[in-house]
Amino acid sequence: MERDYEIPSGLYFAKSHEWVSISDSIATVGITAYAVAQMDKEIVNVELCKVETQLTKGKSFGIVDSVKAAFDLYAPVSGKVTEINNTILQDPAIVATSPYDDGWMIKISMSNPEETNELLKAFEYKRLIEMSEE
């Protein structure tokens, strides 16, 4: 079993396995390496909401498909979608090969930046994964 999933420090994490990178009031969102592994390491389709969509924390902002199953993507923070990664819509495999970098999904202009306090830090997310692996 691969037990060591990359968990970059400096990012925030949702329990539903999205990561968030904060720069000013813009949150960039993707899914974690652990999430990719749970999707059998193969991502064959990504569907994202449109730019300008108003997201509420916890609401679905799209779908990722592995060969076998579809998974909902949940907004880790509330706000308006300012940009989506069109490259991954064309080439979804990028999410699996580069989940924290080229595989980013959406950027959200946060309406309530304090919501980041409710997200997990890297060490907390690592603990969450270790617990679910046991």
Binding site: S16, H17, E18, I31, A35, Q38, D40, K41, E42, V44, N45, E47, I63, V64, D65, S66, V67, K68, A69, A70, F71, D72, L73, Y74, L89, S132
Partner: protein
């Protein structure tokens, strides 16, 4: 991220699950194990696509220990099965295998099974999820027949080798030329010093064999096949690719396309129901169920965009709901979404433009002739 719709759970790992004798082998070869029909089985060793294409292009090896194997002995074994089975065993000779159904009195499918006519007994191969149900069904209908029904799933294990190189690999192992085994026939040979039933059957749309051998020899056969087959491209294949392979070949799976609420006729498998033979359970209901006006039919379809259909998605014709997806997947061969669905018979013709409702959005699809995938030659 969360599982969308009604999909299978990601984590297995309960201690009550049954394990195959290859459990440790699977784990030590990187398999991701999942729960399936009460068994802890390998989902994949590498990726589903890689294993899938491995089978299509060269060959793959499948641990099928979870499937049920039932032996029926006794002088009434043929009339007994004639009474329970939709197909007609009278046309069989030794070495033949017949596919068909056990139906309830409403014509609903209890299981789809294969029957092997071997020396002085019949062997039934049944779905893992139905082994108990089938045993109970057989026993509860055996009162007027002199038969012995025995579950041999634990002692007689089963693997499949499938793909264009399967026969060459079998020859490499055994020096036996299997080209004289016709489709849906079997022979009994000695493999690695044990008697084995080798049948030309499968569930992938490829040419290949299913092999039944005693439990003591199972791991040895598995390892020797991989040893011999490695240079011909043989790879172990998990249940993930087994599912994508069978969906491309439009082979039905119990619990999806086949249930107690569906009949073989709706599934388009009427050729395995023989109305000309004597009474069998479900015959009357099936005979009178053929009114086409209200009928639904199993179809296969491919997506016209990048969306991927899944079990349970509604099928639309314009604004009208005409059915439900029973199996859907990304197809590693065609690199797009494909699936099977039950739809109203009047809208079931190939080339009909339909749409699949995924997350409340209709996505364009087209009904295709079955099967979607057909291998090029023997």
């Amino acid at each position: 991220m969360g599982c969308a719709g009604r999909k299978s759970k990601l984590s297995g790992g309960a201690s009550l699950l049954k394990r195959t004798v290859l459990y440790n082998w699977h784990k030590s070869h990187g398999a991701r194990m999942v729960e399936f029909a009460g068994w802890e089985m390998p989902l994949q060793y590498t990726t589903i696509s890689e294993e899938h294409l491995g089978v299509r292009e060269k060959a793959g090896l499948f641990d099928l220990s979870h499937m049920g194997r039932i032996r029926i002995r006794g002088k009434d074994r043929i009339p007994f099965m004639q009474y329970l089975f939709t197909n007609d065993l009278i046309t069989m000779s030794e070495g033949d295998i017949m596919y068909g159904f056990l139906c309830n009195s409403n014509g609903g499918i209890i299981d789809d099974i294969t029957v092997y006519l071997i020396e002085d007994y019949l062997m039934l191969v049944v779905n893992a999820c139905n082994t108990e149900t089938v045993l109970n069904w057989l026993r509860s209908n055996a009162n007027n027949f002199e038969v012995e029904i025995e579950d041999v799933s634990i002692s007689l294990l089963m693997l499949a080798i499938q793909g264009p190189r399967a026969q060459d690999i079998m020859y490499g192992l055994s020096r036996i030329d299997l080209s004289n085994i016709q489709y849906h026939q079997f022979m009994i040979y000695h493999l690695i010093r044990s008697k084995a039933v080798i049948s030309r059957t499968g569930y992938t749309g490829e040419n290949g064999f299913e092999i039944y051998i005693g439990g003591l020899f199972f791991q040895s056969l598995w390892e020797q096949l991989l040893d011999v087959g490695e240079k011909m491209g043989l790879v172990p294949v998990g249940l993930g690719a087994r599912d994508t392979l069978r969906i491309e070949a439009c082979l039905p799976l119990y619990g999806h396309e086949l249930t107690e609420e569906t009949t073989p006729l709706e599934a388009g498998l009427g050729k395995f129901v023989k109305f000309a033979k004597n009474d069998f359970i479900g015959k009357k209901a099936l005979y009178y169920s053929t009114n086409p006006e209200f009928a639904r039919r199993l179809i296969c379809f491919e997506m016209m965009d990048k969306a991927i259909p899944r079990n349970g998605h509604p099928v639309m014709f314009g604004d009208m709901t005409i059915g439900t997806v029973t199996s859907g997947t990304f197809s590693p061969t065609f690199q797009k979404g494909i699936g099977m669905a039950y739809v109203d018979q009047i809208k079931s013709q190939p080339d009909t433009r339909i749409s699949i409702l995924i997350n409340e959005n209709p996505h364009p699809a087209i009904i295709r002739k079955r099967p979607l995938y057909k291998r090029r030659s023997i």
